[in-house]
């Protein structure tokens, strides 16, 4: 273990007081409370509006504004030289473990996908030890992945088997899996993969530029990265549009639709977050002249995050689209 010198301690900055936490709490709690109200109106309500959207938007705006102010303050403190080497390392550790927690969040959804594909599907179709109830519940259901026909539909709909039903799960016409080899260039997920992998490369080039002290190179390549991120989101939106409008594939399309949209949806949400982070770093660099070769953790943290969403996509591409 390396011992820290006591000079690092003398510069330790204890923020005196801060209203940030309370403001962020007001924003977070209002937005979640509002969201819960909106959803309950939608599902359990009698059509009456309770003004919950207002609470939700107020909370979200308040929360975003607080986070904006919070990060602005942290950046200003750093620019003013108030951050000791030790505090900087705390930020690094914080970002690392935050990304680790995000990995675990995705693990839950990937775990659900693997469990359904390797165990639940065959069981519902009557195979193995879990399949003993097949003739009572889902007679005639054959398992394949992607799952074009839900167990409910295989037995003739909710009229024939109302067990464990919260609604009717509708089949789709076409899945997102790789279709015709001849028309590979029409397959959107492949383009998405190319775009996102390239953006991971470009952000790395930008980082190299920054380490060389070449701000021009940094600004250009980071700008390209953000543009690629936007392209990815646009392509993903196009894919969702295709799914809903042309393939009949929705959240309601049984477990295939559930896992497809939740995995790609959360990934897409994280891409938007990462892209926003990188965009802010780009603006900081271009407009504010921030970042030097040896002090640029705001950018580095965002780029870590970007590599993380890229790695998640590689797994998504493999397990959701190809296999």
């Amino acid at each position: 273990m390396t011992t820290q010198s006591s000079t690092e301690y003398e510069k330790y900055y204890v923020p005196e007081k801060s209203k940030l936490a309370v403001c962020a709490t007001i924003g977070l709690i209002s937005s979640t409370f509002g969201a819960a109200n909106v959803m309950n109106d939608m599902t359990f309500g009698d059509g009456a509006t309770t003004g919950s959207w207002g609470i939700f938007w107020f909370g979200l705006f308040f929360f975003s504004a607080t986070l904006f102010g919070w990060f602005r303050m942290a950046i200003k403190e750093n620019l003013a030289g108030m951050n000791s080497a030790q505090l900087k390392k705390s930020y690094v550790l914080g970002m690392f473990w935050f990304i680790f927690s995000e990995v675990m969040f995705f693990l839950a959804f990937f775990g659900a996908l693997f469990y359904v594909r390797t165990l639940v599907g065959p069981w519902l179709a009557g195979e193995g030890e879990g399949g003993r109830m097949n003739h009572l519940l889902w007679e005639g259901f054959n398992y394949q992945w992607p799952m074009p026909l839900t167990p409910q539909e295989a037995v003739g709909g909710v009229a024939n088997q109302p067990v464990a039903n919260m609604g009717t799960f509708q089949s789709y016409e076409q899945s997102m899996a790789f279709g015709e080899a001849a028309a590979w260039y029409l397959w959107l997920p492949m383009w998405n993969t190319i775009v996102l992998l390239s953006s991971s490369f470009t952000v790395h080039v930008a980082h190299m530029g920054l380490l060389d002290g070449n701000k021009r190179k940094f600004n250009i390549w980071l700008g390209i990265t953000v543009a690629l991120g936007m392209l990815f989101v646009a392509l993903q939106a196009l894919e969702y549009y295709e799914a809903y409008a042309h393939f009949g594939l929705t959240l309601n399309s049984g477990i295939y639709g559930s896992t497809f949209f939740m995995l790609t949806g959360f990934h897409g949400f994280h891409v938007i977050m990462g892209m926003t982070m990188l965009l802010i770093q780009w603006l900081r660099s271009v407009r504010g002249g921030h970042f030097t070769a040896d002090d640029h953790f705001g950018f580095e943290a965002s780029s870590w995050y970007w590599h993380f969403v890229d790695v998640v996509w590689v797994f998504l591409f493999l397990f959701v689209y190809i296999l």
Partner: protein
Amino acid sequence: MGDHHHGPAKGLSRWLFTTNHKDIGTMYLWFSFSMFILGGAFAMIIRAELFQPGMQLVEPAFFNQMTTLHGLVMVFGAIMPSFVGLANWMIPMMIGAPDMALPRMNNWSFWILPPAFLILAGTLFMEGGAPNFGWTFYAPLSTTYAPPSVTYFIFSIHVLGLSSIMGSINIIATVMNMRAPGMTYMKMPLFVWTWLITAFLLVAVMPVLAGAVTMMLMDIHFGTSFFSAAGGGDPVLFQHIFWFFGHPEVYIIILPAFGVVSQIIPTFARKPLFGYDSMVYATAAIAFLSFIVWAHHMYTVGMPVAGELFFMYATMLIAVPTGVKVFNWVTTMWRGAMTFETPMLFCMGFLVLFTIGGFTGLMLSIAPADFQYHDSYFVVAHFHYVMVAGAVFSMSAAVYYWLPKWCGRMYNETMGKTHFWISFIGFNITFFPQHFVGLAGMPRRIPDYALQFADFNMMSSIGAFIYGASQILFLYNVIATIVAGKPTSEAKTWEGAEGLEWTVATPAPYHTFETPPQVR
């Protein structure tokens, strides 16, 4: 900005806007105690209903809400935040740091808790009532058949998870980055070690819980079929995801308790902790094993035999590192110059009762035997032996142990000992008979029971009222100490105490270390 001499601000803004680890620790502790009282009140309603067979006081639907909220409030509101509060107070002092690594985030981690619990408790007054599906919220009870308030429950779980993740990141950053010169990892007090590992567990599994409740939310409101076989999903999938979180969660609760006991027993045995290194490795081993044993909570769900066997053997393995710990504590006391002040009494109580809970856990780990025990009061007895006699007893011990350091006043020893003995006796009257009724087949979570269980249940209820009353004594003792306890300014409250927290002034100054202490 070099001014470290400022004291606390005046009034409410001190608490709302604070970035001080001691203030935040204090808020966590008081909040968790208020949740302990709330969850305890729910428990009293449960025990009052079960005082006699037949319907006594409440409707069965309300009884379900009580069992659910009792579990949720105790686990997420009382025990977890209490140890986070302890971590906030003690870890910077124990490793020679000026404060937590990320002080503003620290305040946020705390302040989102009270409103989240306000929303959770507020579900009691909503149409359709509070969540009624048990603290484990198994689908489809929590999806298809849930009351509308489930949405609020889901979002409050999200917020609690966020709080835990941020708190844990802070603890990890503090321990990894803020140790005083010379404070190597293997010199850290065991409480710091257990919390470092606990924080890792929290960061790893809280997001998984968030994933589980998110899937519930989507199933309820947006037509997905994660937990519905009709759409190709599986309700059992919920149980797997939940317990992948839930099993590490029980170690999240007990590991800091191990840490507390490992601090207190050496003090009152006046001997260094026996087998420090093995304690650290045992803690790490328990944390690792906690990730591969989750399905022992669901033996009866219809898993393949290979799964049952794997989870059974993996679960039994946990007894090895846990045994290492128990033997180390006992060996620490061996030939020690022992005295039995209140903290030590609670640790002795912990040691005996937690070990009983460990043994019943071993019984439950045996898959074929568990088919009989599953969802019976035997399970309830088991986990209250580890949760109450484990976590809550060690928390009481910690409060008595460090209270003089916190507020510079000594608690009333007689009252403390009385609190211990009433707790100890009340606890055992409550939960020991539950082993018997459980083995005889009384199911948990049911407001009524067969007549042959009547005597033991009445005994249980009387014990619960005694135990509950003893906590009022605890509250009184703590408040009396803070307000009018005998002032003490000895840096070292306890003769045998070791560690940096006993080198600073009593009461601990608002900012502890202005220059880093040198640790040799």
